[in-house]
């Protein structure tokens, strides 16, 4: 069952689209914002509410790179691995984060604090190398800056 606030937020977008099912992408984002990730149950809740199949939702979810079908940590680190960041040595930053947190890309720290994922160009190329943690951008990364930044997330 969708929670009241999830339902309200989804309902607020229904009138943007001529068909109820077209609100699906937004609905998945909404529910993920509330629950952190999209479980099978979450998809079933959305599917029931919008009158679409879970297959249809999962098809879109597994296409997307910003919908999580597995549990993630409290904070999600997305490190840009595209060309500008490549030129600006993102690989060193990636290795630094991995060493600091003791996890590789695609993994979550055992304490559930961070999930570490790669992402394509964040359109922060003027601040490459760049990363995003939750909703915040962090650019012009250096190992020292990374240490500070990580420390600011509990």
């Amino acid at each position: 069952m969708l929670t009241d606030s999830e339902r309200r937020e989804i309902e607020a977008t229904l009138h943007h689209y001529p068909h109820r099912r077209s609100a699906a992408a937004g609905a998945m984002r909404t529910v993920q914002r509330h629950r952190g990730w999209l479980s099978d149950e979450a998809l079933a809740d959305i599917a029931g509410f919008l009158g679409v199949s879970v297959e249809e939702l999962d098809s879109r979810a597994t296409f997307a790179n910003m919908l999580f079908r597995r549990p993630v940590g409290r904070h999600v680190i997305l490190i840009c691995d595209s060309d500008c960041c490549y030129v600006m040595a993102y690989e060193q930053m990636r290795d630094h984060i991995a060493a600091r947190l003791g996890i590789g890309l695609g993994e979550t720290t055992p304490d559930g604090r961070f999930t570490f994922l790669p992402i394509v160009c964040l359109a922060q190329c003027d601040h490459a190398p760049a990363m995003q943690i939750d909703d915040d951008f962090h650019g012009d990364l250096t190992p020292e800056r990374i240490d500070q930044i990580l420390a600011s997330y509990d």
């Binding site: 943007h16 689209y17 001529p18 068909h19 099912r21 077209s22 609100a23 699906a24 992408a25 937004g26 998945m28 984002r29 098809s59 879109r60 979810a61 296409f63 997307a64 790179n65 910003m66 919908l67 691995d81 595209s82 060309d83 500008c84 490549y86 030129v87 600006m88 040595a89 690989e91 060193q92 992402i119 394509v120 160009c121 964040l122 359109a123 922060q124 190329c125 003027d126 601040h127 490459a128 995003q132 909703d135 951008f137 012009d140």
Partner: protein, 455 residues
């Protein structure tokens, strides 16, 4: 280090960025109005028929800033207007901006969200659409918030909503946030994404101008393209054109990233030479680094060698010289960067983002990425270079369903020529001889630190 605005410049000279605030905060509606904001909309609704707005845009010679450079006015003019035209039409703003290297749309929205709103309103008026969508990439929380605020402000002032400025024209603009994928930036896939369908590209015809979003006539334009519309209407096509240095006319956002003294995006006359952008605006390369090549307009454009940076940056001059302008946001590749590693990174990106629809793309790109990886890691063979050439052929233009794979072949094909020596050396020496990227010349030997010291 970053240069993001050209404040204090007259709106008649730098119309895209004139309303940007000196304090770096986004312009609000008052800021924008002070710089001539919403005048164009007022004029259009009072004095111009929809087709006249389209004509102004056509006459201005505006070419799409999303990369392909289609005539914006031409695109609009294919949409049926008038009494016999379908009642429901849409304008969709492409704010997906996932092209690696491109960050200009974000600058525009974060500097002045109202410019886009006014541009949308004019586009909608021109094709008589009552609904517009701004499709934003998943990461654009800030642009989302700014646009939400701007829409509310514009509504309060009667620039949006029912009977805009007392006219018979009504318009709602909705924001749609992507669930994330480079492919969603391709115009037809974007429409599918907006419908919550699978974001595969669509076969044309039907052309979007006749059956696009939910099979209604639709125009898709890049953020910057739409931002150019208010100044075109306000200044008139002739004055707009006169802002440029070449026939193409107008201004556009030029951006630079890489190891330069000042990264950023600047509004400059169309036709500014690349050298000027790099040396004057970006302040040249950082000490200890030499320029090797430029990826002039995103990951989908062929490399421009350092020797050729006198090229003039507009669509036609670039094309004539065998390059392409793309988004106009350049990545400068310095001499610490192994070009094979870079191309591997680019091709991997495309392989990863392929939607999985057409075979040359989903089959060819990962293969090319694997071959490049082999070469970079010292397992390459000379025949691999022929194989990569062949892959550029079968993933080239007219071989694929959309432009994603052909885009990948552009930097790859250019690299095979431009960096031939590097490819051959990698293969011959069975290793990469570059050190870690970003090592200044003084600390690096071309022979490099050997097989373990690389990246």
């Amino acid at each position: 280090m970053t240069d993001r605005h050209t404040t204090g410049v007259s709106p008649d000279e730098r119309p895209l960025t004139a309303a940007f605030r000196a304090d770096g905060r986004p312009a609000n509606i008052a800021d924008y109005e002070a710089a001539g904001g919403y005048e164009a909309l007022r004029t259009a609704l009072r004095e111009l028929a929809p087709a006249e707005v389209t004509k102004l845009v056509s006459d201005s010679g505006l070419r799409g800033r999303g990369g392909a450079g289609f005539s914006t006015g031409g695109k609009w003019s294919h949409v049926p207007v008038g009494d016999m035209a379908p009642a429901i039409k849409y304008v969709v703003c492409n704010g997906d901006e996932m092209e690696p290297g491109s960050f200009k749309d974000r600058h525009l929205i974060e500097g002045n969200p109202h410019l886009l709103i006014e541009g949308m309103a004019l586009a909608c008026y021109a094709i008589q659409a009552r609904t517009g969508y701004i499709f934003l990439r998943a990461q654009y929380d800030k642009p989302y918030a700014l646009l939400t605020q701007a829409i509310a402000e514009a509504k309060a002032k009667g620039y949006l909503g029912e009977h805009i400025l007392g006219s018979g024209f009504s318009l709602e603009i909705y924001l749609h946030v992507s669930i994330g994928r480079y492919m969603c930036g391709e115009a037809s896939a974007m429409l599918n994404a907006l419908q919550s369908d699978r974001p595969n590209p669509r076969w044309r015809p039907p052309h979007m101008a006749s059956a696009g979003l939910w099979s209604r006539p639709t125009v898709v334009n890049n953020v910057e393209s739409l931002c150019c519309v208010p100044p075109i209407v306000r200044l008139g096509p002739e004055r707009w054109k006169s802002l440029g240095l070449t026939d193409e006319g107008g201004t556009r956002m030029y951006g630079v990233s890489g190891r330069v003294n000042r990264t950023g995006a600047w509004e400059l006359p169309v036709g500014t030479p690349m050298r000027e952008v790099i040396e004057q605006h970006a302040g040249g390369m950082r000490d200890g680094f030499a320029l090797r090549a430029v990826l002039p307009g995103g990951a989908s454009t062929p490399f421009v060698p350092a020797e050729a940076i006198d090229v003039i940056m507009d669509f036609d001059h670039m094309k004539e010289a065998g390059y392409s302008l793309g988004t106009g946001t350049a990545l400068l590749v310095d001499d610490s960067v192994c070009p094979i590693g870079l191309v591997r990174n680019l091709v991997r990106f495309f392989a990863q983002e392929s939607c999985g629809w057409c075979t040359p793309c989903w089959g060819g790109l990962p293969w090319a990425a694997d071959v490049l990886n082999d070469i970079e890691e010292g397992r390459g063979r000379l025949s691999d270079l022929d194989l990569l050439e062949e892959q550029c052929w079968f993933m080239g233009e007219d071989m694929c369903f959309c432009d994603l794979a052909p885009s990948a072949t552009k930097p790859l094909g250019a690299a095979l020529k431009l960096f031939r020596d590097d490819f051959e050396r990698h293969i011959r020496e069975e290793r990469c001889s570059y050190g870690p990227v970003g090592q200044p010349a003084g600390q690096r030997s071309l022979r490099g630190p050997g097989p373990d010291g690389g990246h």
